[in-house]
Amino acid sequence: VSLSRPSLRRRILVVHVGAALAVAMCIIAFAALSARMHRGMDAARTEFAEEQRIADRLTRVVSAQVMAATYVTAWGEAESLNRFRQASESAFDQIRLYLLHELTPMQRLQLEQVKETQERLGVSAAQALILARAGRPNEASQAAQETATHATELQEKLDVFMGMRQQDLRQLTARQDAALRTLNAASAAIGGLLLIAALLLTRYLYRRIGTPLTELAAAASRIGAGDLSARIGPMAFREFAAVGRSFNSMTVGLAIAEASLRKRNTELQEALDRVKRMQAELVQAEKLSALGRMMAGLAHELNNPLGSVLGYAELLSNALEERGTPLARSIRDESVRPLIEEAVRARAIIQDFLQFSRSASPQVEPVAVCPGIEAARRMHAYAFDRAGLAIEVSCEPELIALARPQHLHQILLNLISNAHDAMLDRAHGTLRITATRADERVRVVFEDDGPGFADPDLVLEPFFTTKPVGAGTGLGLSIVHEYMKEFGGSMRVENRAEGGARVVLQFQPAALGTHPSAPRPQPDHPDDLSGVRVLIVEDERHLRNVMARFLRQAKATVDLAESADEAQLILAAADVDLVLSDVKMPGGQSGLDLFHWLLRERPELAGLFLFVTGDTADPEVRDLAHERPMQFLAKPFMRQDLIARVVALLSGANAR
């Protein structure tokens, strides 16, 4: 196809050669015309000059001949004859030269008449001389007069001829002027032709080159503006067609490259988003980690005195109750019970802090959802009744979700607690908990009749709370969110159209055939530890005393140790049934060291070792707690918590 198109190079070459030939032909034609005119003018000038010389000489010699003829009889014979003949010969020569020139028939005839008159003049002059010499003066005079007549006639005929030639010369001059005008006209015509040729050539180049270049430039501009659909249409010339094809190929290549670049850019953007999210998560994790470490330390420091406060308050409450007087009851209800409640609330706060500070993600496991919901409901039933609120639970049977049982329990408690707090100002508020299977997921929805979320987009941020100062840490929903992500599930918070808040949890469903482990409900426990010997290892004196009094109230035998070393001595000497030990203790050994020592020295007591700690942030402690969850009791705790755990451990040991 391209070969069928004309070649621009060839076309330009042809045009240039044609233009050059045209210009050359014009120049040659002009030069030829000019040269011809110049030759003609030169020839005319030369002829004019020569003729002028001949005419001058002819006039001169004829004048001399006439003069000689006039005085032919006056001068001496020899002199007159010589003069006359010289003049006559010269005149004859000039006439003959003149006759060789181009003359009109009239001029030639006139010149011939001049010649013939000159011949007659010569004869009559010779006659006059001859008659004078012969002594015949009268005839000589008559011949002389005839000679003069011929001379006059010669002069007149010559004048007529010269007049004719002058007329010719004037015509020659006119012809030369006309030739000059023709030359000028030819110059103008050639110049005009060259100008027209230049204009035509310019127009041709503009049409054949400028237009395609403009189209190329426009297409390039469109490409530059980002319009990669720009294409060059068919071009007339092979070269432009090749450029157009290359341009179109380039455009297609650019479009492909741009698409690839966009894809890569999208991928990069997505990667960047991921990196940003990861960075944000890392920052958040680091922030939370630092916060967690701080809170873990704080919780640890607070848990011990809080445990003492809670323990003593509970002891005091029990003592007041045992006193049985109205005053004692009044003191217990009005002073000690609020103290206990506030201590419990403080413990919950610290537990939240500790929970938040955890960064590990233990393995999830199949968990039965409905029992967990029921356990949580039961735990808050009293609080809801007191506030005039209700909890309605609708749980599809056999729902099993992937979660960690303890965290799931905490999530349920947290959301029920939030609903309770939100509905405190409402009369007859109801929390509706609905657990269903939807879209291959386990869905648990909490809907309350509270005021709803002030800003649903911010409630999942850590420390965001709308509760009054001191009423919440702002970590609850954030922790729930973190847990759900760890489970591989999701959490959505929103406000209900009819009012109130809605929290939707979606869990990954457990695989078929799995056996759930339900959150361990707080077992009912007997308050009688008779015959049981318990070693308490606690560096905090008040807490040690509180625990000892709780156990003794349950009729257990209690040994006390302030350190691990002291505990080892007691264990070596006495037959202890259960060890209750703090983790962090001043001195050389920690509770963990004591546990490991026990594993080596008294392995039968390994399952009867109960860690009582305010800090589970330590990785080793956390791992061990994950491994032996029933052997860890978080500070601060209430009396029934401690007794129940002790009973549970002892029951487990007995079962084995």
């Binding site: 010969e89 006759l99 011949e119």
Partner: protein, 345 residues
């Protein structure tokens, strides 16, 4: 157009003969010899005068004739010179049998002649005069025109100083009145020359010779070639005794010439002169050119120029003919006289 041209009958070229009566006889004989195969149309014009006006009028009439390719003429140097530019302008070949003026060599590319220029005749005459009349007096009578003046000048130049004593140098003109002729002839007689040198035409000689014979008796007269027609018009009033003239052809030179002369004498009652033989040859030349395909004046010119070059010389009655670059021929002169018939040597 080509078909129309091809269907048209081929036009015959035309050839004009513009001469005096004597030369026309030569042309007539030539055409009779060529008939009926004469390859051109003919146009005869009587033009005996040496004056320009009648000759130019005849020439203008000739060039106006369509198909004219050549003209044989005119009868003398003056008329030939006067008409040569007209024929050259019209690109018609002018072939003159007897123009001898030196200037004719420069007349143009279409101008040819069969007579050598005057300078050669003048040298021939000078040689004759010196050989026969050295140390004697001579009267020089010349036609005061192109022909006579040229000859006079060349002759005076050719005669060595002191060999001939010129006692008269008298011009004359054709048609001069008898009173003037008497006066001039009387002056010549008074000079008593030993020989008369006549550089003029035969017609003028008829007026002069009786006057000269009356005063000088049988004085030898040596004339130029223009005197040769005097043998054609012999009369008791004009004695041509002891009269010699230059001619261009010896009638006895070749058998062909002898036969031609015999036939000429039988038909016209007198001997042929050189100009008649050359006119005869001129007609044969142009006929040969036309037979060879010449259809324009330029064709004829080219054909004439090719003689002796790309073509053999033409075998004419007067001998081999070829032209030089000026259209002149090389030809020897002879001196002739009349003793019962023309005899040349």
């Amino acid at each position: 157009m080509v078909l129309a041209a091809a269907c048209q009958p081929e036009s015959r070229p035309s050839v004009a003969v513009a001469m005096g009566a004597s030369e026309l006889t030569g042309a007539l004989l030539a055409m009779e010899s060529l008939a009926p195969g004469l390859p051109f149309d003919t146009m005869f014009r009587f033009s005996p005068d040496s004056r320009a006006a009648p000759a130019i009028a005849v020439a203008q009439e000739i060039v106006a004739r369509p198909g004219m390719v050549a003209v044989i003429g005119h009868a003398n140097s003056g008329a030939s010179l006067a008409t040569a530019p007209i024929y050259n302008q019209s690109e018609i070949v002018q072939l003159t049998p007897n123009a001898t003026a030196t200037a004719y060599s420069l007349a143009g590319p279409f101008s040819f002649r069969l007579a050598p220029p005057d300078a050669q005749q003048a040298r021939f005459l000078a040689d004759v005069l010196v050989a026969r009349f050295s140390g004697q007096s001579a009267a020089l009578l010349y036609e005061n025109d192109e022909y006579g003046r040229e000859l006079r000048r060349e002759l005076v130049k050719a005669v060595p100083e002191g060999t001939i004593r010129w006692v008269a140098d008298t011009p004359h003109l054709q048609g001069q009145d008898s009173v003037l002729a008497d006066q001039l002839a009387h002056a010549v007689v008074l000079a008593r020359p030993d020989v008369i040198v006549w550089l003029g035409r035969e017609l003028t000689a008829r007026a002069w010779f009786p006057r000269l014979r009356a005063g000088l008796g049988p004085v030898p007269i040596v004339g130029s070639d223009a005197l040769s027609p005097i043998v054609m018009n012999r009369s008791p009033d004009v004695s041509i005794e002891n009269t010699w003239w230059v001619d261009l052809v010896d009638p006895d030179a070749t058998p062909a010439l002898q036969s031609f002369a015999a036939a000429f004498r039988a038909r016209f009652g007198h001997d042929p002169i050189g100009s008649q033989v050359l006119t005869y040859d001129a007609v044969l030349l142009i006929a040969a050119a036309v037979r060879d395909g010449a259809r324009t004046g330029d064709d004829v010119r080219t054909w004439l120029v090719s003689l002796g070059r790309t073509r053999p010389r033409f075998q004419g009655l007067s001998g081999e003919i070829a032209f030089d670059a000026n259209g002149d021929v090389a030809r020897r002169h002879v001196m002739c006289t009349f003793r019962e018939r023309v005899r040349c040597q």
